[in-house]
């Protein structure tokens, strides 16, 4: 593993950004000028000028569906020291959650981000709970400094794909 935290990827894991289903990505409580794509999309997530910002208060609810079933190993969340996220809860395969029902289900995993994490060190998740992921919901409950605005620079997912049938590749077998 290299010393620079931001570019280390655990062995055998893949950056899952290409498996994100962009048509279904949603984020509640984001500002329109700083939307979720700034933090997720390849290119803009490494651009320091672009970040995701919360709007009415400091919480953010991010919903990311995937094109295939994946196993999630770890998550990278990069943000500024003061306004970066602190308490993060992950929900596996729960669709269309709202702020009102985040407390209804226990999260599949929850973590408090340290400053190292905010610099790019991946947060390893409870692997056994993320074996069969179609979609991920990330609930950012509070930020480091306690301010009203949470800023997130980058969100990346590290893991592996499960070999799933891509329905588009299915072809009719020729009759003999």
């Amino acid at each position: 593993m290299t010393s620079t935290a931001s570019s280390s990827i655990p062995r055998g894991q893949v950056d899952l950004v290409e498996f994100v289903d962009w048509s279904g990505v949603e984020c509640l409580n984001q500002t329109t000028s700083h939307p979720l794509v700034n933090a997720l999309k390849q290119g803009s997530r490494d651009d320091d000028g672009l970040h995701l910002e919360s709007d009415a208060d400091e919480q953010l609810l991010i919903y990311v569906p995937f094109l295939q079933v994946i196993k999630l190993h770890s998550v990278v969340i990069v943000g500024p020291e003061e306004e970066g996220p602190k308490t993060v809860k992950l929900f596996a395969n729960k669709e269309h959650m709202g702020f009102s029902n985040v407390s209804d289900y226990p999260p599949s995993d929850s973590t408090e981000l340290s400053l190292d994490n905010l610099k790019g060190k991946p947060v390893t998740v409870k692997y056994v709970k993320f074996q069969n992921i179609r979609s991920l919901t990330i609930f950012i409950e509070e930020n480091q400094g306690g301010s009203d605005v949470t800023k997130v620079q980058k969100i990346a997912f590290l893991g592996t794909t499960v070999d799933t049938t891509n329905m588009k590749d299915l072809k009719k077998i020729e009759e003999h």
Binding site: N29, T32, D55, A56, S100
Partner: protein, 434 residues
């Protein structure tokens, strides 16, 4: 003919008749691309304050009319849109119908509502939010429309907190401030809408009591016309028509609000003008020879016209439920215009009555304008349309292909018989009656 057919007659006409003015309508239809998929909850104020008569006929009735119009506009702009209704006063906040796309159901539940009690704004908005959360199609955007007629007893801070919560859950809010106007009410509601507003998706309209109906005032507001993206063509054109036609803008459409529509109209108008000029030039050459023939033709047209009016009356009586008073008046007016179209050169297209009557059907308004202009200039030469119409077999084939039309219907047979030598306008209007 059913109500559904009445709505779509224009698209059938457009697709079946092969001459230039449908291109205008086609372009009109093409630009209806901005159809926001939305789930809306309408919060009705049915408190004691609604008994007041400062809006005619009463505050409650004006509100109900406006709500009916909004429901129609929303369901028409996108067939997958859903609308729900709840009351905020009475015995408590009560959801009358959860978001549905069935317009009949929505309008039916508005009957027999009791007026009384006091409006509970915060509870109303919260229940509306909950109803929207449980909508079936999660892809729909959430919107709440509140009719605030009573005084507001909550303070600004509470309302702002509610607004922020709505914004957090990406719910848009439209407020209609009418009825009671105590001090602070407009500011409180403005603060509420400002707290919810995210990129201009929420609006507030203050309607003071006055001669014009609540619905008429609302038609020209963003509540009807959508979120500043240009919204639905229905409302934009209806706003133009209701505002008196050509007020200031060419074709009654604001080029800033709807550039594609303005462009489409302008191009079609120029095409028509060019065609007219070519036709008029040709007609002027043969004027001496044709004049006598023309007079005969127009007199036979008049005779047939009166026959048409009679048969129209018969058809209208039969299908009375499809024809409102507005539409009947519009029909007679259009017929009168067509009949003396040969004599008058400046037809007053900006007639206020006509505009009002077509407030709900702007496509009809524009089509009629175009047709009337064409009739005015083209009366001496036989237009392609008359030739087409005289081809009985062609007309019958169109009518047979219309869904829901029974070719053996006696009123239809009368209609076909009276078709000889009619102008486009009559044909169009009569077809609509079926």
């Amino acid at each position: 003919a059913s109500k559904r057919q009445q709505k779509s007659w224009f698209s059938i006409l457009r697709s079946s008749l092969p001459f230039s003015f449908p291109i205008l309508i086609f372009r009109l239809a093409l630009r209806r691309i901005a159809m926001v998929l939305e789930a809306t909850m309408i919060c009705i104020d049915n408190s004691e304050w609604m008994r007041n008569g400062d809006y005619s006929p009463s505050r409650y009735q004006a509100q109900a009319d406006a709500i009916n119009l909004i429901c129609g506009a929303k369901t028409q702009s996108n067939p997958e849109n859903t609308v729900g209704v709840l009351t905020m006063a009475g015995k408590g906040v009560r959801v009358l119908v959860t978001p549905t796309s069935d317009l009949g159901k929505i309008l039916a539940c508005m009957h027999g509502l009791e007026i009384g009690g006091e409006m509970n704004l915060t509870a109303g908005i919260q229940v509306a939010q909950l109803a929207l959360k449980h909508r079936q199609n999660k892809k729909q955007k959430q919107r709440i429309i509140v009719f605030a007629g009573s005084p507001i007893k909550y303070d600004k801070k509470t309302l702002e907190a509610i607004g922020r919560k709505l914004k957090k859950n990406s719910v848009a809010l439209d407020v209609v401030d009418f009825g009671e106007s105590d001090d602070g009410k407009p500011e409180k509601l403005e603060a509420l809408v400002a707290a919810v507003n995210n990129n201009d998706n929420s609006h507030i309209v203050h309607v003071p009591p006055g001669p014009s109906a609540l619905s008429d005032v609302l038609i020209s507001t963003p509540i009807f016309t959508g979120d500043g993206e240009g919204g639905s063509g229905f409302a934009a054109a209806a706003a133009a028509a209701a505002a008196g036609g050509m007020s200031g803008f060419e074709f009654g459409v604001d080029p800033n609000r709807d550039p594609e529509l303005a462009l489409a109209l302008r191009i079609s108008m120029e095409e028509e003008r060019a065609r007219q000029e070519a036709a008029a030039k040709k007609a002027a050459e043969e004027a001496g020879k044709q004049e006598k023939v023309g007079e005969q033709a127009s007199s036979s047209q008049d005779a047939a016209m009166t026959e048409a009016v009679n048969s129209l009356a018969v058809v209208a009586d039969d299908k009375k439920q499809n024809l409102t008073d507005d539409e009947a008046a519009l029909l007679e007016q259009a017929l009168a215009m067509s009949m003396d179209g040969a004599k008058s050169t400046s037809v007053d297209i900006t007639d206020a009555d006509m505009s009002d009557a077509t407030a709900e059907d702007p496509e009809l308004a524009y089509a009629l304008q175009m047709s009337v202009q064409e009739t005015v200039r083209d009366s001496s030469s036989q237009s392609e349309m008359s030739k087409v119409l005289e081809d009985q077999s062609f007309v019958s084939s169109i009518l047979n292909s219309l869904p829901g039309v029974d070719p053996n219907d006696p009123s239809l047979k009368d209609f076909l018989a009276s078709l000889q030598g009619q102008s486009e306008v009559c044909f169009v209007l009569k077809l609509r009656n079926l």
